[in-house]
């Protein structure tokens, strides 16, 4: 039953290339450096990886984007005599799953509750997307095992990344930087304004594990904790499509990120003795092209807002070189930017930039000079702790949180974005509340369940007006991150809960 369902998922979510709904073209490059696609192609670009990433991205997004056109057709059928039968046939053909009978069967009373049906379909598609992710591991990185050793050789035992909660940065780890997503920590905050106390807690835990269990290396290894902040800007519409939390002001976004990094560093230095410190890295992302800029630190670790390497310029300067020439210029550029940069830091930055060249190539090859959806186009909001599977651009607005009370600002930004995207046309805001837990700890699941309930209640309290109009729907899910399992759906504010208890 479960297996049959998964196979069906695979087909209808379109993971294999060439589904009818896959948008645009595939990246031109197929092998490393083949550069077969006109403007597309770069000697350091990984064409095969680009193809696989594009197939995955377009398949997932098609699954979400088929919902509205399908429901439009369903709506047109609702007063036909064999409505339910025809609606289910259509849903199976287009979406790959049945619609909830509870909602369809009430259509004769007044009319089909389209907002509810829409929310239900988004949640069901999300659930199927999670099932597929955890069953098939579609984004597994070939170099995941190598990465940890590489990072330590560069002088770092942990890479802790805080991007902006903006959905246009949700693919930062696996796409923009091409890093193995399980090998780095990612916690997203509006404006990348990460919580210093949360990071201190992570640092403390990391140090404890190094001392006590030798994970990921022993405490005597001369490596440090690296905190990376990723702010963002828009090259196409810098004054409107930049970071909302910083008023679309690129310099302000960068300065705020740097300030928060320094606060974290000072907190570690002043709270613990014996030379405790961390290393810092600041990068900016152009959300129209995915090109990054890296603020290369100097020998003392100092970061200058005006001193950075721009991957876009590097791409243009190296795209007609051989791979060797390009790699060489890349290294020179990093060291030219900050001549006394620590060697390990320079090596890490070179790798990030080289990886990013593949992503610039990917965007050019698949979408042209820039993304067509330059502004927000997230499909749902994710709130809580978890969401490892969300590694795709503009899929989810991510508010990492323990409580609505502390993350009110982040959530308000998300609700504002979705008020424009959905509420303005009468569609509800779908919110997935999620808390992952360690199943090997007795009681942890119960605490995660309670946590979900508390946050869902607080969301309905904070956005009572929207909820009262049926324009806010919440699905509560938990996941055991010790088992290699998919999510478990707990409950849902839509009348019919997507596959609750199916796992």
């Amino acid at each position: 039953m479960q297996r049959a369902h998964r196979q069906q998922s695979r087909r209808t979510l379109g993971w294999s290339a060439g589904t009818g709904t896959a948008p645009l073209r595939r990246p031109g490059a197929v092998g490393r450096g083949s550069g077969a696609g006109g403007e597309s192609g770069h000697p350091l670009s990984r064409g095969r990886e680009n193809t696989a990433l594009f197939d995955y991205e377009s398949g997932v997004k098609a699954a979400f984007d088929t919902i509205v056109p399908t429901l439009k057709q369903v709506s047109a059928l609702q007063h036909e005599s064999d409505f339910e039968l025809r609606a289910q046939r259509l849903a199976q053909a287009e979406l790959g799953f049945d619609l909830p009978e509870a909602i369809l069967s009430d259509a004769w009373i007044a009319q089909l509750d389209m907002p509810q049906l829409f929310a239900w379909c988004v949640f069901e598609t999300y659930r199927r997307y999670c099932d597929q992710f955890y069953a098939q591991d579609p984004l597994v990185a070939g170099d995941a095992d190598e990465f940890e050793g590489f990072l330590q050789a560069c002088g770092f035992h942990t890479l802790d990344i805080s991007p902006c909660a903006d959905g246009r940065l949700a693919h930062l780890v696996r796409y923009v930087l091409r890093l193995p997503h399980r090998s780095v920590r990612r916690k997203s905050y509006a404006g990348a304004m990460f919580d210093v106390d949360d990071s201190i807690q992570k640092w403390v835990e990391t140090e404890m594990l190094r001392f006590r269990e030798g994970r990921p290396n022993t405490a005597d290894a001369p490596t440090r904790y690296l905190k990376l902040v990723a702010y963002h800007h828009s090259s196409v519409d810098p004054e409107h499509a930049g970071c909302a939390a910083h008023g679309s002001d690129t310099r302000r976004a960068a300065a705020a990120g740097l300030e928060r990094l320094q606060a974290f560093q000072q907190a570690i230095e002043n709270s613990f003795c014996c030379g405790a410190s961390i290393d810092l890295l600041l990068i900016g992302i152009d959300t129209d092209t995915d090109a990054i800029r890296v603020h290369v630190p100097d020998a003392r670790g100092s970061i200058d807002l005006d001193r950075y390497v721009d991957a876009q310029a590097l791409f243009d300067a190296t795209c007609r070189m051989t791979a060797t020439q390009a790699a060489s210029l890349l290294g020179e550029t990093v060291r030219g930017c900050s001549p006394d940069v620590a060697s390990g830091m320079a090596t890490l930055i070179e790798r990030l930039l080289e990886h990013n060249l593949s992503q610039i190539d990917y965007v050019r090859g698949c979408y042209g000079q820039q993304y067509p959806d330059g502004d927000h186009a997230e499909r749902f909001i994710g709130a809580g702790v978890g969401f490892e599977e969300v590694q795709l651009r503009n899929l989810m607005y991510f508010a990492y949180l323990d409580t609505v009370e502390e993350a009110a600002q982040d959530l308000d930004v998300g609700v504002k974005i979705f008020s424009a995207l959905n509420v303005s046309r009468g569609l509800p805001i779908p919110v997935v509340v999620r808390f992952d837990y360690h199943g090997r700890v007795p009681g942890a699941r119960e605490r995660a369940v309670t946590h979900c309930q508390r946050v869902a209640k607080a969301l309905f309290g904070r956005y009572a007006e929207l909820a009262g109009r049926g324009l806010l729907h919440v699905m509560q899910v938990v996941r055991d991150c010790n088992a290699n399992a998919s999510i478990e759906v707990l409950e849902c504010s839509v009348n019919a809960t997507p596959a609750a208890g199916a796992h």
Copy 2:
């Protein structure tokens, strides 16, 4: 200015014995084992300490309890022509401070805003009480330095105590158990239902500091983290005056405490390798007599709800013995209760029981067979992180919290208690929102200030109806726990903020 103010505080708060408002009698015993006071006196009771503790307790409580009778007199004066002058004279004489002119000067318009004036006086008295506590350290324990070594000799490097948030347990550490308050961790929760994740975090930090900084001892020392839960019951009115969070059911309170302890232990054992574990201890407190019962663990650390030593019975059995005989019987009773108890655990329990005999003697000597205020009589609610100065019974209902969202249940219990105590007679609920911070960490004060504001706002949101009627007032305070400073008052919902900015 500051010094003069403090001296005045000292006088009018009545720290020295014999103020006109000091209630009841002093403990009969003055020297160790002197047992001069009739029923009072026990060979192991520390009479001098009892006297000092009573002077302090009665002085602080008198300062709070003078507020209502003084305001009644002020109320009677409010339509006199020289009202403001006479009110200030009265306040200075009785309370030791001036009333806020802003409130007095509006009395002619309709009438004196008594609820506001009451809240202001409670907050001002609290502020002066804190000033005195941090300036003079009235509860300093003579054996504080020795205690850490003793604890480690018993096999424990940390003593982490979670009592119930009930104000009748607020004196648990310094009075009931006679421990140095700075040497133990105390986090209070309704029903003693402590947050497992918060405790795990503290365990992680403790391990890290042992490994990294050798604090409080090095990680190779064979000591463990000891978590103690204190539930409570009432011998006088067991079915009504027990723990509200557990429906005044003693067995349920004890069972829930044990269950939470075991959940914490299992979480540590299952989350970390290399034999990581903790030790557990469960005690119960009779809030009428302060007598404890200690559930002595067996050799494997197992705790039985029915197997405990009752300090009350021990007191009665030993009160006519010599100190040597009494100490000997105490040791026999502990080992008789659980013959294979670990030697260090037995030694610690013996000390806790011996200390508690002083407290039983204290209550008998000062108040008779039981406390006259057997039920709730807290003067205010404290919400947040800090409150080191609150070591007195029935002074404050303590909700240890980061957010109102997570601690809603604890706060609801507190608000229910104060609805009976204050709101029922038209007096507001005074809430002190407090976050202590480490001043040596840049930005920490600003984060504590933001934290206060967020929690205060959430309180007004959750209890909007009470606040709208002027029956909920909040004073926000922070404290730098790196400096040996008093609290800093930020703002207050009463029109006039008590001494804001004076520090």
